[in-house]
């Protein structure tokens, strides 16, 4: 026994198993997210269950579990959808009560703009109240034929609402603010006021014209489908609300794969629908990426300059050591504390002052005096600056003194040495710090909830209106989206797949951002490889 211990073998096993356990945990976590997140888009077959009491239930099997307190019995969770008809998307069915199970090939699943999925058999296709096609087969064919045109129409309406009408609204708001500005300066009449009045009138006329165009387009949306659901319930669904229609039981693997890819792309590129439980998460992806980039742009120069002062210029002593310890401890402060600081200092302090000086015409509506992507980025920059400082300082300490001396001995000044020799050599360390900072920032949610993240942002922080980048705007964030969809949603069962999808996207995004920074660092390392590092 003693011999075994002295051989060191048990210790090797202990360290090895510790590593294996860590790996297992990480792999398990990733696998869970991958399976749940990616599995969601696979079109599962629809079953029709006939119960012993004669009731029929059509839906998708989502889960199967043992019935509590009754050994050997199982029940399944069936997504019957049709929330507007049945009141709930899911029902639990005891397997003991199922008399018959079948996979009807003509059952159609329809994704629509509201109320979640619609599952049933197509009965008729109508246009303007007149039946165009009757029966599952012809109705589905007609639906498929007309769907692209309907989607085009819907996109056109949306683009008018967002584009033309949005631009008019924006211009009207600008005119209103200009008028208010004049008023604040004491100008109530005069050529400027009149010009603004004329502009407003022109804008209102254009608004009316666009509204009429919209109404005309909406009039074209006359077609509808009638779907027969369980229990003899019929639903007439306007074609304008249909996003996708498919018959999973009749689809082959290839068709399902195409459907899967389209669904995946939809999540990445679409706006959310139905209080975030359906649709895509594009605004959240965009918000997260922009947040992290602004944060990086702010934190890198700040942290690097601070580290240079600490290591290159400050006289090393008790005070500098104290500062160094304080900076390191700052990294351990809970992030919500930074959030509170962000609200108190950035939003109310700096933002409020900016509003009073530059945006007085918009008050009492705050412009910068409320949460926004700039303040959230600044708060995160503050949160992560210790990481960058520590990494940069370590990099500076690792640069051999001889390198600085060589430059100074050639007649370079301290500044030239710092910029031409020290800075390039320390860049890999700076990027290491930045990678750690980004990883931390992308996953932070708590401080964002106080400084500008919202459940649903009406517009992205970047758009076509001058000045194009709107740093004062509120934004969406994948981390907050997970919390919101998973725990604040009225329909938790329906939202659960979205939680995993969003989590997966957040992970992918952090990995991508890190890979980018790591690639950059490795390139710099090859260029500036020092013998000491």
């Amino acid at each position: 026994m003693r011999h075994l211990w002295r051989s060191g073998e048990p210790f090797i096993w202990l360290t090895g198993s510790a590593l294996a356990l860590c790996l297992l945990l990480v792999v398990g976590l990733v696998a869970l997210i991958l399976v749940n997140g990616l599995g969601f888009f696979w079109p599962k077959d629809v079953v029709r269950l006939t119960l012993t009491d004669g009731r029929a239930l059509t839906g998708i099997v989502r889960e199967r579990e043992a019935v509590p307190d009754r050994g050997g019995e199982y029940r399944i969770k069936l997504q019957v959808a049709n929330r507007d008809l049945y009141g709930a998307d899911f029902v639990w069915v005891d397997e003991a009560r199922i008399a018959r199970r079948e996979d009807p090939p003509d059952v159609t699943v329809i994704e629509r703009t509201e109320w979640g999925l619609l599952i049933g058999t197509l009965a008729e296709f109508r246009d303007g109240g007149r039946v165009v096609a009757a029966g599952p087969g012809p109705a589905l064919a007609e639906l498929r034929r007309r769907l692209p045109a309907a989607a085009r129409l819907r996109r056109e309406i949306r683009s008018i609402e967002k584009g033309e009408i949005g631009a008019i609204n924006h211009a009207q708001e600008q005119a209103r603010l200009a008028l208010k500005r004049l008023e604040l300066r004491g100008v109530a009449t005069g050529p400027e006021v009149e010009a603004l009045g004329r502009r407003t009138a022109v804008l209102q006329a254009r608004y009316a014209a666009e509204e009429a165009r919209l109404a005309a387009l909406r009039k074209q949306q006359t077609a509808s489908v009638v779907v027969a659901a369980d229990g003899g319930k019929d639903k007439e669904l306007p074609l304008a609300q249909v996003l996708r229609a498919f018959t999973p039981n009749a689809m082959g693997v290839l068709a399902k794969s195409g459907h899967y890819a389209a669904g995946l792309w939809g999540v990445v590129s679409d706006d959310p629908r139905e209080s975030n439980t359906e649709g895509g998460v594009f605004p959240a992806i965009f918000g997260t990426a922009m947040l992290v980039m602004i944060m990086s742009a702010l934190v890198t120069p700040l942290g690097v300059l601070a580290a240079f002062y600490l290591r290159e210029y400050a006289r090393q002593g008790t005070f500098v050591s104290a500062v160094r310890i304080a900076v390191n401890n700052l990294a351990g402060v809970p992030s919500i504390v930074f959030g509170v600081f962000g609200v108190g200092f950035f939003i109310y302090g700096v933002g409020g002052t900016l509003d009073r000086w530059f945006f007085a015409e918009a008050l009492p509506t705050p412009t910068f005096g409320t949460g926004g992507i700039l303040w959230a980025s600044l708060t995160l920059a503050l949160l992560t600056v210790p990481v960058v400082i520590v990494a940069t300082e370590e990099g500076l300490a690792a640069i051999p003194m001889g390198m600085r001396e060589a430059s100074l001995a050639l007649g370079a000044t301290k500044l030239e040495t710092t910029l031409r020799v020290v800075l390039p050599a320390v860049m890999p360390s700076v990027l290491t710090g930045l990678i750690l900072a980004m990883a931390r920032a992308a996953g932070e949610v708590a401080p964002l909830m106080l400084t500008g993240v919202v459940k649903l942002a009406p517009s992205l922080p970047v758009d076509g209106f001058w000045p194009f980048v709107h740093l004062e705007r509120k934004f969406m964030h994948l981390g907050f989206h997970i919390y919101d969809v998973g725990f604040q949603s009225p329909n938790v069962d329906a939202a659960r797949p979205m939680v995993f999808v969003t989590t997966l996207l957040l992970l992918v995004m952090v990995v991508l951002l890190n890979l980018f920074a790591i690639g950059l660092r490795n390139r710099l390392r090859r260029t500036y490889a020092t013998s000491a590092v």
Partner: protein, 272 residues
């Protein structure tokens, strides 16, 4: 002048017949230096002749590197350093408060004990000094780089890999690159702080050969641990002990016929 060694014709190995004194490049008078409370140099006085190799020998910690670093004021970088006395290079007092220390360092190049090329390409290493001096055009830089590398006997070995990282060169090549980098700014004086202590004998021989070549254009001051090296390459040698310049003279004289008992003890290996 007390403490100054006048190098007379009789001591001059190169010019025994002419009877003239060698022109001094560096004149050190009553130089003392303290690191905080610790005195590292004690009243050192001597002159370094132009276009000759002058070596300092002595045991570790005797102050020879400190003395060398006084000549381009690298000691200024150390906290709490204090210097008294005067050092004149080419007639200019280098401890004059109005003197621009970067100007001084452009005139007094330095090669360090451990080769310290920048983590840049071979070309950029040599071009660093000229760039600092304001040379911008590519053709000028290329000319300077080639001339310096040729002068450092490195051109033949690296002309095909000027764009490669300098850290890929061998130790001896790196040290010659550092010499090329130092002479690219065309200094008057070249200080060498134990330039061969980290090199193998073959690389050492190359550097020593180079020094004999370079002394035609530059005044070389070298610090070395290795007495054989001092004997091989230097024209004049100074022996230092505990911050004091014990003896200085023509190398052959100093090694064969030392005037001071301590010098004799050291070179015969009785201590150190």
């Amino acid at each position: 002048m007390p403490g100054t060694v006048d190098v007379t014709a009789s001591l001059n190995p190169h010019d025994a017949a002419s009877g003239i004194m060698e022109a001094p490049m560096v004149e050190i008078e009553h130089l003392s230096l303290w690191y905080g409370a610790k005195q590292a140099l004690r009243d050192v006085s001597m002159s370094v002749p132009k276009h000759r190799v002058t070596a300092y020998i002595g045991p570790s910690g005797c102050g020879k590197s400190t003395l060398l670093r006084c000549l381009n004021r690298m000691n200024d970088l150390v906290d709490g350093v204090r210097v008294t006395g005067t050092v004149r290079i080419g007639g200019t007092d280098i401890y004059d408060p109005t003197l621009d220390v970067t100007e001084l360092r452009k005139r007094v190049g330095m090669v360090f004990q451990k080769s310290n090329p920048f983590p840049k390409s071979v070309f950029e290493n040599v071009a660093y000094g000229p760039r600092i001096l304001g040379v911008r055009t590519r053709s000028d830089l290329e000319a300077v780089v080639e001339r310096s590398l040729r002068a450092a006997a490195l051109w033949e070995e690296v002309q095909d890999r000027l764009g490669d990282s300098a850290l890929g060169l061998s130790g001896g090549q790196q040290q010659r690159l550092c010499i090329a980098r130092a002479i690219a700014v065309e200094p008057d004086v070249l200080l060498m702080d134990e330039p061969c202590s980290a090199l193998d004998p073959i690389a050492t021989a190359k550097i020593e050969e180079l020094m004999l070549e370079l002394k035609n254009s530059y005044t070389i001051v070298i610090v070395t641990h290795n007495m054989q090296q001092a004997a091989r390459v230097s024209d004049y040698t100074g022996f230092m002990l505990l911050g004091e310049l014990v003896e200085v003279g023509v190398t052959r004289e100093l090694f064969t016929n030392p005037r001071d008992k301590r010098t004799e003890d050291y070179i015969t290996g009785r201590f150190g």
